[in-house]
């Protein structure tokens, strides 16, 4: 089976006013393609650190991280930017759309940094907006949309570069229960279409949608429980 991501003995230490904080103390995880992983854990467990490392926003102090054949753990800042632009789709708790851009333009942003905006790409952005149910909101700005609609736009954006996996950070944290259901249904559908999803959440309810729940505690893997096969 192809792996979307593989981390081996990943470590991260911070130096805070002379003290060494060991946020991750050696975590290994294989994420096969088509998997849907929920990462859970109390605050301080290393959840956010792992998320930043998986998202290539930060570099580990030890271990390795393969996104495909390359170890991204030692890459330069610019290479990491390229990896983020081409292999990872981000979905954030607070949507993080750019306010002055329309829905369509927001969806295009990752392509922009790959230098790949042409009419075919724009057509794809429209199709993705359609897919998440925003086909009639293309020219709207984020402020004109509800929270659920903004998160749908963000999900469309995360798909535009055809990433190896979608990295979702508390994607329903700011939404009411009805909208939460809608967004989770959308993620479920994407996963059924063989999109790999890694989601950080602290809600059991939300985590139950995943195929597999990984729990962290004190920078170590506490449990890795598979509920459904890929």
């Amino acid at each position: 089976m192809q792996l979307a991501a593989r981390i081996q003995d990943l470590k991260k230490e911070y130096h805070l006013s002379g003290e060494v904080v060991r946020a991750l103390r050696g975590v290994s995880l294989d994420v096969p393609e088509g998997d849907y992983v929920a990462i859970m854990g109390p605050s301080g467990s290393g959840k956010s650190t792992l998320l930043n490392l998986l998202g290539c926003l930060d570099r580990p102090t030890g271990g390795s991280y393969y996104l495909g054949p390359d170890d991204v753990a030692r890459m330069s800042d610019d290479r990491l930017s390229e990896i983020r632009a081409s292999r990872i789709g981000f979905v954030f708790q607070s949507y993080n759309l750019i306010q002055q851009l329309t829905v369509l333009e927001n969806i295009e942003v990752p392509l922009y940094y790959q230098g790949r905006i042409d009419s075919r790409a724009q057509q794809r952005c429209r199709e993705l907006a359609q897919l998440v149910g925003l086909g009639d909101r293309l020219r709207h700005r984020p402020a004109q949309l509800s929270g659920g609609q903004q998160q749908r736009a963000a999900i469309a954006r995360s798909l535009v570069n055809d990433p190896r996996f979608i990295l979702a950070d508390e994607p329903t944290g700011n939404l009411d229960s009805v909208t939460t259901g809608e967004i989770l249904a959308l993620l479920d559908r994407l996963n059924r279409d063989f999109k790999t999803i890694i989601m950080v959440t602290h809600e059991d309810e939300v985590a139950r949608h995943a195929r597999r729940i990984v729990r962290l505690r004190d920078g170590l893997l506490q449990s890795d429980e598979r509920m459904r096969e890929v």
Binding site: D78, S81, E82, N96, L101, V109, Y112, Y113, D118
Partner: protein
């Protein structure tokens, strides 16, 4: 990077700026004022110095002008009656004979007199001169002729009127062929001149010349009929002077010998005049001084303009720093979605370049309307506060700004440069942000 992406970068920059139209407008205004002031100040400076240069050139660059100066009163204390002073005919002969570089010398004697024709009276200057005088002082004849060589030789009692004197003495008649009275003498009018603008006074030794109330006669006639001792009635009392020559205009054969000739002239005069009763004016020297002054003027104006551009640049930096802080979250999002540091730098740099180019372009337009704007300003001032305008120095009242060609690319270039320089720091600060921190920013 494709051209589509480049275009998008610019469109995005403009869009971001339009999010805060007032803020962007004020920033542009700073650059606008800077650029327009560069063009304006240089244009006005050029206008003023050009005028000064023209006035000096009007004196003739290859001329040396020697004038009689009345010595200070204390030099003649205790002596009753007028004391002779100034240039003499002997000086004239000496200069012409001993200095070979002098091509020719024009003697001039001026006296204040009252001119009379019928009931019309005009106070003015009676100028005894030679035929060359018209050419050297750039007088042109309107009708008749200027004093001729035969008239000079024969000491003929003829005169040539300036345009203004002719207009006032002969409002309804052709003055040619008529005779005017100057005290007890009579002179036949043989010519009338075109109007001539006054020349400016230069230094202490050459007073401003207003040619409007002049009447010209052959200098030989003046010597024969009036002589050197001249008494003038002035407000009830008599004033006398004994002067042979008021002025000598020496023309030098070659332009590059002017300065050494002037030194010789000064030395020759100093040897024969114990008191300071002559003054030497060298237009070429003045011209060179004027050129230096012009350079200093440009430098000074440039400095002022540079300061205003600097202020504009600081305005840009200020706004961009605020913008960068405000858009920290956006920077974090863009970094997360794949923007490199250089992409972020470019994005913000594009915005400052848009601001400074718009400011620069409008500033150049604002600079180009300098002439009509100054004319309008003058017109308005004359309408609203005529008294204040009259009190202004003549140069300021009449200055015509001349737009200096190179000031336009210079001002524009500097404004764009200022945009880049002052935009670079905020843009690099934006790029240096840690994406994780930036994403957390509220």
């Amino acid at each position: 990077m494709g051209s589509g992406i480049v275009l998008r970068t610019w469109i995005l920059g403009i869009k971001s700026l339009l999010l805060h139209p007032l803020r962007s407008l004020l920033t542009v205004l700073g650059i606008f004022i800077g650029v327009a002031s560069v063009v304006w100040l240089l244009a006005i400076g050029e206008g003023i110095s050009k005028k000064a240069q023209e006035q000096i050139e009007g004196l003739g660059a290859d001329n040396i002008i020697v004038r009689s100066i009345k010595p200070p009163n204390e030099a003649t204390v205790g002596i009753r009656g007028p004391v002779p002073y100034g240039l003499t005919r002997a000086d004239y002969d000496r200069l012409v004979e001993t200095i070979p570089t002098i091509e020719r010398a024009l003697p001039v004697r001026e006296i204040r007199r009252q001119f009379k024709y019928g009931d019309h009276l005009v106070d003015g200057r009676l100028v005894g001169c030679t035929p060359d005088y018209a050419q050297v002082t750039q007088l042109s004849v309107y009708s008749g002729h200027f004093i001729s060589e035969p008239e000079l030789k024969s000491k003929a009692p003829v005169c040539v009127l300036s345009h203004e004197v002719a207009r006032r003495l002969f409002p309804y008649e052709d003055p040619l062929g008529r005779t005017i009275n100057v005290e007890e003498q009579k002179y036949l009018v043989v010519g009338v001149l075109e109007p001539k603008n006054p020349t400016a006074g230069i230094g202490g030794s050459l007073a401003a010349q207003d040619f409007a109330d002049d009447v010209y006669i052959p200098i030989t006639t003046l010597w024969a009929l009036i002589g050197d001792s001249v008494f003038t009635r002035r407000s009830g009392s008599f004033e006398g002077e004994i002067v042979e020559l008021s002025q000598l205009t020496l023309r030098v054969k070659e332009l590059d010998r002017v300065l050494e000739t002037a030194d010789l002239v000064k030395a020759t005069l100093a040897a024969h005049h114990r008191q300071q009763d002559t003054g030497v004016v060298v237009p070429l020297e003045l011209l060179e001084q004027a050129r230096t002054t012009r350079l200093m003027f440009i430098l000074f104006m440039g400095l002022i303009a540079a300061i205003s551009l600097l202020v504009g640049g600081i305005g840009i930096m200020n706004i961009m720093l605020a913008t960068v802080t405000e858009r920290t979250r956006e920077i974090g999002i863009r970094r997360a979605l794949g923007a490199k540091r250089s992409d972020i730098t470019r994005q913000f740099l594009v915005e400052t370049i848009v601001l400074s180019v718009v400011g620069g372009a409008t500033g150049v337009l604002g600079g180009l309307i300098c002439r009509p704007a100054v004319a309008l300003l003058r017109w308005t001032l004359e309408r609203t506060a005529p008294g204040a305008v009259e009190n202004l120095p003549e140069v300021i009242r009449t200055v015509e700004p001349i737009i200096v060609g190179w000031s336009i690319p210079l001002a524009f270039g500097i404004s764009v440069g200022v945009g880049v320089v002052f935009g670079l720091y905020p843009a690099m600060r934006a790029a240096a942000m840690d994406p994780i921190e930036a994403l957390r920013h509220e």
